[in-house]
């Protein structure tokens, strides 16, 4: 059983954490939130220099050639510091799609530029339930896509998009699209991350790779997304508990630090339970995602997302409550963590759907 991190992985965590402690304090982040792009190009270059943007990318394309564990290590640290840069859309989502499904030429074209911090990408996948699905039709020089995508994280700044669209044979396809050829409605999301809705009207596109069935690739990268989000949420929850415990120790009421009130101490203990349960499942999901893409992996990843969502609701609510009014203010960091975990819990399927889906698949524990 290998649950711990290697020395290299620990060093990676420390390096990223040290950088962010120095360069990404809450005030800096606050200023970024209000800036036009919403995140720091300078930090992006530093991530590139540290090799973070090449995690999960093969060495022949300039990457580190490592697996999902390193990505999870970085995401957890990013979660602790609420990093706003579009690492998830570029490196974890679009990057992994290209790495998994792209042709050699496409990889050669895109991955080194991602790794060097020169290219931003995003995956336009989610659609409104009430609108017609995005469709791809073949054209003489490739494909043409039409449809609408919503909640595309990083979709505001991405230069190249991977777009999921239905092919004429009814199967899902993945396509590369020049973002400049699409119409975009950019926005800030409630957690401060940037995103966009994206409209395609007979937009020129290239198929990603040559495979005709990308269902498996989509599944794998959705799993990787969930693993990354779970790790990020654990980092954020860890910090929320830390902030809460710190506040309980420093804030006095009725002549005593409020951390001496037994009710608040026990509620902090319950937050700790929720955190550790989420941490355990984030770990399981990461270990599972390193394995073959089968029902067991999918169940473990979905189960992790369920536990993380449950824990995030509990910890977020309690962190704000135990802070009292100060926990509601934009100036104090805790609410930003709460907002991020709230959004994470609504990405990649909501709790009811995940629980129902996992139950229909037979759950986790065999009948006996």
């Amino acid at each position: 059983m290998e649950l711990g991190l290697t020395d290299e992985q620990k060093l990676l965590a420390t390096t990223v954490d040290t950088l962010l402690r120095k360069r990404y304090d809450p005030e800096t982040r606050h200023a970024l939130l209000g800036s036009p792009g919403g995140w720091s190009r300078e930090m992006w270059q530093r991530y590139a220099e540290l090799g973070l943007l090449g995690l999960g990318v093969d060495e022949r394309y300039g990457g580190a050639g490592t697996g999902l564990t390193e990505i999870a290590v970085v995401m957890e640290t990013f979660g602790r510091h609420l990093v706003l840069e579009p690492f998830l859309p570029t490196v974890v989502r679009a990057g992994q799609l290209v790495a998994a499904a792209g042709s050699a030429a496409q990889k050669e074209l895109l991955l080194p530029r991602i790794t060097r911090g020169e290219l931003l990408m995003a995956w336009a996948h989610t659609e409104r339930a009430t609108r017609p699905v995005a469709r791809a039709v073949p054209a003489a020089d490739g494909w043409r896509l039409s449809g609408e995508k919503i909640a595309v994280t990083g979709g505001d700044s991405a230069e190249v998009l991977v777009v999921t669209a239905h092919r004429p044979d009814g199967k899902p396809g993945l396509f590369l699209v020049d973002a400049a050829a699409t119409r975009q409605q950019p926005y800030r999301m409630h957690d401060g991350h940037r995103g966009a809705d994206i409209r395609l009207d007979d937009t020129v596109a290239t198929a990603l790779g040559t495979g005709t069935d990308v269902t498996e690739v989509i599944e794998t990268v959705l799993d990787a997304t969930m693993v990354a989000l779970c790790a990020e949420a654990v980092g954020a929850m860890d910090r929320m508990l830390e902030l809460t415990v710190g506040y309980l120790k420093s804030r006095a009421q009725f002549g005593h630090p409020i951390g001496t009130f037994q009710v608040l101490r026990h509620r902090a203990a319950d937050m700790y339970l929720s955190l550790e349960q989420a941490r355990s499942m984030a770990l399981l999901a990461r270990l599972a995602a390193d394995g073959p893409s089968d029902a067991r992996r999918r169940a473990a990843v979905r189960a992790a997302k369920i536990q993380v969502d449950l824990s995030a609701r509990h910890i977020g609510h309690e962190a704000v409550q135990l802070h009292g009014g100060i926990g509601m203010t934009d100036e104090y960091p805790v609410c930003h963590y709460f907002k991020r975990t709230t959004v994470i819990a609504r990405l990649a399927g909501d709790l009811d759907a995940l629980v129902t889906g996992l139950g229909e698949q037979g759950g986790l524990i065999p009948a006996g």
Binding site: T130, Q253, F254, L264, G324, T329, D352, T356
Partner: protein, 389 residues
């Protein structure tokens, strides 16, 4: 549930519904129904219409413009207002400073302040909370020192809701630092345009600025703006807080939120898990409504300003249910709700109702279990005052 009402009460409720749905502009009500925040003008307009019909301050003493209503009638008035999506009168005016002036103020204060307070010509803010006195309200530090015909006020208030709209503020200030903390507090009325008053908005997690800090720097307050007697302010504050025995349950808010969720949920209502959460919320809301009616039923036996310890239960469970309702709406709007549409972010096609307000309201409503006596304080009250622990 209206089968528990008498036919007169049902008729009264129908009358209120008719009033609210015909006299209050449909534009304002429609916007509120869609989850938009009412503007200052909306609130003032509605309160003025109500006031013209004698319906802005029904719970004031009759001699001050109130109505000789039963507790259940007052409840039905508030309930029908909420269900008709009418922004309620300014709570600081009608439920807080108004009753205090009416019960403890001099005839001069009555004449000067009660009419514009009822008509919303004056918008009041509440100056109770301070940065170092959260749940321990009586440890407040703002001072008022008598200097000739005026008090000189120094200190800071915080969490002052909608102070940006306000003309005046009613404050608790320490006038005698030598006695036990509850004893040396007075209740002052302060014009917010007075020199030395600074208002600083506090941005909250939902992006809005509904609360403020208010700083007093040698602010001179005419001594006749003292309500009642000097050093008896804590008594008046307790009267004020004890007056609202059932309002914090927020039955009208929960029911209109649940009603809206049902209107918008569409196919989501066919999801058994979602529906079960909604149904359970409806059951617990109905239980709370019945608890409110039980408190109202015995309210006629209590003098004004005497708290009913069961109110703590209504506030506690009410805010929990209000919060749960905000969470269900997020599930209804789905990923469309993740963008801050408040910043002018549009979409390619009309957005589903709720997409803009679901998450901000969810975030904002975390306040409900913190304000008006945190839910932890309410548990203290229940365990001590009701259970004797």
């Amino acid at each position: 549930m209206d089968f528990v009402l008498s036919s007169q009460e049902r008729e009264f409720a129908r009358d209120m519904r008719a009033f609210f749905t015909t006299e209050i502009p449909a534009g304002i009500r429609d916007r509120t129904a869609r989850g938009e925040q009412p503007t200052r003008d909306d609130i003032v307009t509605c309160q003025q219409i109500m006031n013209e019909h004698g319906l802005a301050v029904p719970h004031w003493p009759v001699r001050c413009g109130g109505q000789d209503w039963t507790p259940i009638q007052r409840h039905l008035w508030a309930e029908e207002m909420a269900l008709a999506h009418v922004p309620p009168p300014i709570v600081f005016n009608t439920s807080m400073v108004g009753p205090v002036i009416a019960h403890f103020g001099s005839p001069e204060l009555h004449r000067r302040f009660l009419p514009p307070t009822a008509s919303a010509e004056i918008w009041w803010a509440q100056g109770f909370s301070e940065p170092d006195a959260g749940s321990d309200l009586a440890s407040l530090r703002t001072t008022a020192v008598r200097d000739g015909a005026a008090y000189v006020v120094n200190g800071q208030k915080t969490w002052t809701t909608l102070a940006q709209h306000a003309d005046w503020i009613f404050c608790l200030a320490r006038t005698d630092p030598t006695v036990r903390k509850q004893r040396g507090i007075s209740f002052l009325l302060i014009d917010l345009r007075s020199p030395g008053v600074t208002i600083r908005p506090i941005r909250l997690l939902d992006g809005g600025c509904e609360v403020n800090e208010v700083f007093f720097d040698d602010v001179r307050v005419p001594a006749d703006h003292l309500v009642g007697e000097e050093n008896r302010g804590w008594t008046y504050a307790k009267f004020l807080l004890g007056n609202e025995r059932t309002a914090n349950a927020g039955i009208g808010i929960i029911k209109s939120r649940v009603g809206r969720i049902k209107r918008l949920a569409g196919a989501r209502l066919d999801d058994p898990l979602f529906r079960a959460r909604l149904t359970t919320l409806e059951v617990e809301t109905t239980a709370l409504e019945m608890s409110v009616l039980r408190v109202l039923d015995r309210e006629s036996t209590l003098a004004p300003g005497i708290p009913d310890p069961m109110s703590s239960m209504l506030k506690l469970r009410g805010t929990e249910l209000q919060q749960r309702a905000t969470e269900l709406l997020i599930d209804v709007v789905g990923p469309m709700g993740l963008a801050c549409r408040a910043n002018g972010a549009a979409a390619f096609a009309p957005m589903p109702e709720g997409a803009a307000d679901a998450l901000p309201t969810y975030f904002n409503w975390r306040k409900a279990s913190i304000y008006a006596g945190s839910n932890e304080v309410q548990r203290e009250i229940i365990s001590k005052a009701i259970l004797g622990l």
